[in-house]
């Protein structure tokens, strides 16, 4: 910044360097613009749309059924444009189709920034993280889900599953029992207490 304001005192050699930079910058800019227009013609047969590009690009790939090709770009969109819930939802759907749990988790973390109070989403993320063996993070989200809606049997059951995976069996039993108190027919809780946690 200070350089900008000092620019009035430029000497002629500095000025010629700046002029050279100006020429180079504009040349590169013109090449990128020309190349961009040419690339748009080459790939889509028309000038760049007035609508910003990547949404259409994603739609095109979805329509052609190339979901796995779409995921890296959707992941970038979801991570870079962190307020873009539609990119995060699209990533969640696409990654779910190809069973890509890493990117399902990325999408869910992004979505939670919009709805931090969504207990179901916390529990879903905990379940995904459990499958990826990211147990510490899974515990954080399952506990938070239970804190948000303590009356949900399913959320206690997810909490129990995370505890069980961590080897914290007594806490797992407690979570599963809580789940069964709320819903005596909850199968995952009944199964867990009947077999792996039978002796606790």
């Amino acid at each position: 910044m200070s350089r900008l304001s000092q620019s009035r005192r430029l000497t002629p050699p500095s000025r010629s360097r700046f002029s050279l930079l100006f020429l180079v910058g504009n040349l590169v800019f013109a090449l990128l613009l020309g190349g961009g227009v040419g690339y748009s013609f080459h790939t889509r047969g028309r000038l760049p749309d007035v609508r910003f590009g990547y949404v259409d690009n994603h739609r095109q790939l979805l329509e052609t059924g190339k979901q796995s090709e779409l995921i890296p770009d959707l992941r970038t969109a979801a991570l870079v444009s962190f307020d873009d819930a539609s990119a995060q939802l699209q990533l969640l759907l696409t990654a779910s189709i190809v069973n890509d749990s890493e990117n399902i988790a990325v999408a869910m973390r992004g979505l939670l920034s919009h709805t931090p109070g969504d207990a179901e989403l916390h529990a879903e993320l905990a379940a995904v993280l459990l499958r990826r063996a990211a147990l510490d993070e899974a515990l954080v989200h399952s506990s938070y889900a239970v804190k948000l809606v303590p009356s949900s049997a399913r959320l206690h059951s997810v909490q129990g599953a995370v505890m069980l995976a961590m080897g914290r069996n007594r806490e797992a039993v407690s979570a599963y029992r809580e789940a069964l108190q709320l819903d005596p027919e909850l199968e995952p809780a009944k199964r867990a207490l009947a077999y792996p946690l039978r002796n606790y």
């Binding site: 613009l33 760049p48 590009g53 973390r109």
Partner: protein, 356 residues
Amino acid sequence: MDVDAKANFTDLTGRCFAHPVFDYLLIGGGLSLIVIPAVYGLSDRSTMLDSSILPWFVLFSNSAHFAASTVRLYTKPGTKDSLPFLTLAFPAVALGVLTLCMFASDWISRYVQLIYLTWSPYHYAAQAYGLSVMYCVRSGCNLTKRQKQALWWIAILPFFKVLIIALSKHAVAWTVPDYILWSHLDWRSWIEWVSMILGGLALVLPILLFGQVWRTTDRSMPLISLLVILTNALWFVIFPLIDGFVWTTIFHGIQYLAIVMIFHVRDRLALPGNKRSAASHAVWFYGASILLGYAMFNCLPYGYQMLGFGAAKSVLLVIAAINIHHFIVDGYIWKLGRGDVNRRVVEGDAVAAGQG
């Protein structure tokens, strides 16, 4: 209407650049008070956002406004001599930094995004403050140093509101460990409260300052000075973050285009050899801004895709770079320093206001 009543009315309206209707609607932000309720009241908002009209609306207001600062930089008399780094070297520097960011996008992009998204409300607020003071000066309302300081802090309250939400939603999530972020500590409610208080203050304090100036100075602040501050705050307060951004950005773009074209046209008309009409200068400036806006926002990302970068990365980083470039350029082209042509445009009528 007697003479005193007429004078009071002129005092309150302020000395406008074009016509009170034009200035209040486009520069003051009054148009947003009509359009936004109409969109929500008369149609389904999602229809508007999804329709094919919106991209054109963005091009004609938003993209054109970003390009307008660059067009102004190169058409404003004397800038190549007074700002050689900005005019000659900065475009290449910006392009170089953008390209480097493309290579390191996985870790740097979201921070670049966060910088421009939090800089935007600061930029909008600073513009609202600048316009508010400019109308005071033109209208002969001499704010004291303290009143100017108060106006500045009041004008940037919406920025603090957005900053606190954006940081709590994103930057905190990237840096704070999960077990603290999702702990039993209910810090999100506190953030909501603080942001609500800031929003309330952003709407009430401008009116209180207006009243204070009314009571203590010879001439009141013109209403447009109040309106421009209030309309900048209003949409960030009423709407959730993203909706507030969309609407404020659109009307900021319109406001910017209106004021920059007024300055451009007056500079051109003041040139000794000028033979063209004001309308033709305005059409030329706006046309150049639309073309450059289309080139930068819509063509440049394809240039990076041609080089093998992903579509989302190319589009999002180009948008971020254009925003940041615009904020920096804007910090220089609106200076009102001694001898600056901007000062002539503002003071030209202010002298008349002082006499009137």
